[in-house]
Symmetry: D4
């Protein structure tokens, strides 16, 4: 039985008065650490456990939040964790895995992997790899298998063409591209599965930190493209995993 | 056997010379109408038949394209078709269905509906209904069942709260909102399924024709949100259907 | 009697000639320090004493201005004062209080606190704390009691829900949020008091240094929201205090 | 006793089972009109009854919503109602009052006016009158007295100076200005009360439909200014009324 | 001998005094019509005769300028000439050719066509035809042969693939596309000739009247792309002709 | 003696009590027409009489304001007055002069013209004439002589070159240009007098209603350029007149 | 006699052949240093000698250009010269004057000062001093006397009021302000002389590096304001000097 | 015979089965280095060998890609290679040439130069030299001769005038300018050849990193201008070379 239903039933049956019920519900839902209310029933509610956004938090705060989550989950992911903060967090969790390119740390175990479907991550250029790796590690943590197809930008379509048959087998595709972001449209025109467009800040001049790519992807003339924030590999992977785990 | 593989085999076996093979492949793929190359194998390639974007095309062009598609498909959808153009197209297809609010015409049959999953379309306000209806008719045409939950904006969260349990049962959710577009974040924080955020141009002043809502949705602090273009009900539904039809 | 009226009366009665009157009025109003005209009758005129905006001023200038103000007020606040400049100012005012997170220094006493009403400061995430603290210290200095409710973002509404009853008791609420800024709308939809929306530059990608949050808040679909500049905790608190001190 | 508390008590005492309780709570809170969920307990929750935003709704929908609200309130306001729609709504409510300049309709009674405090509405130019009138009628409806000070722009400060003593007596001030929007800063530098800045789309060239005024007001160098959306007289008045009615 | 050199020689030889020389040079160069200085030696200077930009000029002014140019050239082109103005101009030039789609009028003869090279004009969709036609008529007038390849957008790359071999034979290519403008990058990745990218205002939502396409094209990851203004078919053709006529 | 000094002296000498003095000063300064406070001492204060900005005011309001000003001035100018409103105002002032191109009306006399210096108004193209004319009529009204040099855009520099010697004789130059606005830089590089850059909304595509020209002019690499708002011929002329009338 | 006229006369009289004449004209006009063409007749042409923009040039280049100019002028100004580059340039010109706040170096003498008129430089806040100083040193170099009025922002108008009578005596006024830039409008409403608005990048949040101030100033509701680029103290002073030196 | 045709013929003749054919085609086209798919037949396809964009790639990756390309080409260019990475790459290629100003490295030989035509590179100011040099080295590598004309900005047109006759002899011109970018328009108005406009990020204040120059160039009133990305010297040169090598 769902713990929340249990509490409501206890209210109805008189086992539990109202103030007590409210307290029980709160404990069920988050851990109040003062600076942060760690969301403990996110998996219950949204299908995926809490992931910590490391940017703007101190190493100490990250470690504390991780501890709170690990009371309920077998693993936790910290994104946007700079190398120097990562070192400090590792002091508390010596077995943690840290990837410098994407600045992601994983403490504890990844989930069981979904069997019958996986996520293809296609990048336009070598420099898009940072966002692609953030997506890969996130998806793996949440329970999806992934395969990265690097350097398939539209300036040399034959590179993409040679791999399109394999890409077609994925359950969902993440298109990672900066500059003009045309990769998402080209992919969506060739595939039967949803394409998550992940604009990156790769580029210069009038690319405006990824805005040109984002606008291009939002205006895609091909069907089946939806877009996440610039460089948001985590968000792309989260969406892709929700789709990939659909039964 | 896939018709393209057949042709390639015929090349290999000598049944077909190279120029003839090229011609056969082209005929398989699109009908050249002069002004338009109607895409006849889009269902083969992308899982959904050709849909006609009516804006910027004459009534005559729309009708011609529809005819070409109907040689291969049992139905065709024309979006952004103004009432006066719709009237002219109806002359050629008297049984066509036309919805004035969303300016969509359907000629022929909708697809068989997917059984075990449906799409929830949640709108922030009454004025978002136009985009929501475009999404609904598109999804129905492609083969997904839908349910619209109108007027659930975050200014009165109890309206949303009263229906959230039902919304949770959908396989994918479309969040339709103008103004500040907060609905997508609030929904994604409560759900285990992907949320397609559909910003609308509803609003005034510094809403900049939907840009404020789009930016808000792209920056969603909740996980599981991806975004389509402003007022692009068709695109939202197309994505949602791809997800909804995943097995 | 108001000192300005006194001077005008002296003009009328002939006690004071015109050039002398002008001089007296000026002395009443500001201290000319060469680089700065410290505003000495701001409390008279606007209800709150002069607060020094430290950014772009040298430590020496800050100290000099503070001294001029302290001839008339029992305390002075310096905002946006970097730690290295703070150290130098402290040499002149050893009893000064300095908060490193918000980079605010207070020299001398806070005002008497208003009794029957207080300000609630609600933040969306841990990283919004810097702006929230600036608001808190400013409001306290001006004479308002405050309570901070951290990490109540809309991605997990239950965290907000558990505290909303308490928040309702405030006389005015400051909603602090970066990213999509939806917190202001959600709060305003639940409250009978004015909500001051304080957008922060927390975020990345298409958040454009807080612009996305600002636009979202300006377009709020809920009634009762007004907005101050990005990261302007001081301004939010000043407004909130004016409201909180209304009788 | 608060009706919601009553229902919760009934659940606890067993008088009411859970599905029935949910239904009762919903009925208490909004009227589901199909296209719209009219918010019936907004006054309870936010201190002011439902006001209908007429733009994007048909005359029929406006009338229906008004009727639903009038079952609970003694008056209702419809904003952004074009003259032709107003005529149709008047057919259903012959006693309704309609103001063509601000395109506001009031059906039924205004609230009792607050006695000890009022709202000053100061405009920069004659062309800002439309937004000022929207603010005035809204504030009056909600229960605040108002006084408009037209044409006090900063290009001729003596016009403002001649009235500033009177303006000082207001409990809150709305500064209405297009073009460069400097009026808000100038007012805030002279007053002890909060200034709600209302940018208007008056202007041309690089005023970008009011954006220049909005940016100017958000960046005000004077303390005590907060900002609402461009031309949003309703929002300015709503905020001002919340402040004006504070005790 | 170049007429300008003649005049300078006459100055040197004493045949012509300075004021007279100045007058002769001016007469050589433009016709002063009061409202306009028709540029009569543009062909001399820039390789192409004067073309009249009709927008913002009256029908009378257009006709007068055309007459002045025809004293020196065998033909003249008027672009952006609305149908009603076209009618009036035709009264003066009954043999003029007018194309309603592109709103271009040609009076007199096209130039001799360049033999060994032509311009390919590739459009992404049917709605891009207006700009493509402006380009076609301009290029033809200036002396280049053209071929249009309509509806080759990247959402269905097979349509482009089937024609790429033929497109390769052009001396220069104009890529006409709205929405995300990806066509230019894809073409440039396949071709040995310069690609002039012509963004169009076709699209909706966040396409911002063609800005998204323009930014996308300016950021092209493929080499060999340069960009002209939105919907500027004339400019694209003028550039293409300069390249096409290079020997 | 200055009337204000007189009043102050009367206060000092006891001839006039304070409330009476305030009233006298106000009467001296503006006429309160209810909707408008007509600024009667603007000439005193700023060197030029009141000019009425007609946009957003009714014909009746314009006429009323004109009447109030004519009690003190021998002429008045109304700018941005549409033809239909102009007709109505003319009913009250049959001798008024109205120019349809620039939509300016002058009632009464122009000022005496300044003798030793004049204003040159140089336009880039025929379509910039509307703004140029607004500038011309304004400058003439205020008392400056003007000469317009039409169609001198940088695409054919010889047209400008032929007139530059004459332009050099002006006391100040207004450069009127849309599109890329390069004219201002080119002029300033050749002249010893201030150049007022007047961007116009002439153009299309990425000219964004004159913003491209404005940015170009603000970034001028030549010294001696300052900029007024897009299409603001009045403002350009007002500035130019202030400079031209400097002794 | 003007040296250019001399050369032309020599051509006419046969004293000088055409290639020699061209060479002589070029030598007259600039010194070709390879990297730079130092403009030697700018004073002749534009009324003010060459000033070197130091940003983006090496110390060596700056020194070389200065030397070339000093062959013709008695002084030269280098703007935007960082302290480390200044040190190197000083090695070549030990008597040079360098101001660290504004990063300006002057080598050689200032011009004779104009007697009967001066420039007032009014700043909104202490932090605007950097741009004000750049303006002051530039104007002094070019030959205008200046007086700075610091810290007169509109948040405390009495500070401005106390000095307005003195400011009125200037021949031209520079208004230096960041944030909302309202100072320019307020000043122009009180003065009979031209106001050069100089927006600064002082501010934070939505001030966008001075853009908010620039837009505000461009949209000024007061007459007599023209605008230069953000932080462009040099440009403001150059314009002001041209006006101030008008006879 | 074209190697691809050979493979297809081998398929037809039975010499090669399908999987083998696919492999052979891929090997022909790119080298898969894991992180990068080096494009080996770009010269075949687009007329110019692969050039490596160094930004965002490690020194090791750059060296590896260079090696792969050198198996097929006699030279390779690496752009945007910072000095520290350049040092590392030089360890592997001791004969490489590196230019610090433009951050370009060339390994191996430049192509044979085209004889009858060259590229003129005209810059507005000394600070535009960095982009100009990137263009020069790129064009030389691809096989075009170049000549740079530095410091010809429109603020002193005589500097440009003295060289225009020589510039006219080029086959194509690159106009390099920051600030207001007027140089491109002025050049195009004087030339018979295509002008590639290369905006640079030189400037400050409202130049927005080159955006003002880009907009100005896109809106050029002169014919024959097309634009590449800000600071994209490589792209400008690539386009120019394609044109210059046209026969």
């Amino acid at each position: 039985m769902n713990p929340l239903s249990q509490i409501l039933q206890d209210v109805q049956s008189g086992k539990c008065d109202l103030p007590a019920a409210q307290k029980r519900i709160e404990n069920l839902m988050f851990a109040d650490l003062g600076h942060t209310k760690a969301d403990l029933n996110r998996r219950e509610r949204t299908g995926a456990g809490e992931v910590v956004f490391g940017q703007g938090k101190s190493a100490e705060q990250c470690a504390e939040i991780a501890k709170a989550i690990l009371t309920r989950e077998s693993g936790v992911l910290i994104t946007r964790l700079s190398p120097d903060k990562a070192e400090k967090v590792k002091a508390a969790f010596p077995d943690a895995f840290y990837d410098e390119l994407s600045q992601i740390m994983r403490i504890g175990r990844e989930r069981e992997k979904i069997e019958n479907s996986h996520i293809a991550i296609v990048t336009a250029g070598t420099s898009d790899m940072k966002a692609a790796r953030e997506a890969e590690l996130t998806a793996n943590f949440l329970g999806s298998r992934t395969k990265i197809y690097p350097d398939c930008g539209v300036a040399g379509l034959h590179r993409l063409a040679s791999q399109i048959e394999e890409i077609r087998k994925a359950g969902v595709v993440i298109a990672v591209a900066g500059m003009e972001g045309a990769l998402a449209s080209v992919l969506a025109g060739m595939l039967k599965v949803p394409v998550i467009a992940l604009p990156t800040s790769v580029g210069y001049g009038a690319s405006f930190g990824g805005l040109a790519a984002l606008l291009s992807m939002i205006n895609s003339c091909a069907n089946g493209v939806s877009v996440v924030n610039i460089d948001n590999g985590f968000g792309a992977a989260y969406n892709a995993h929700l789709i990939n785990s659909k039964k």
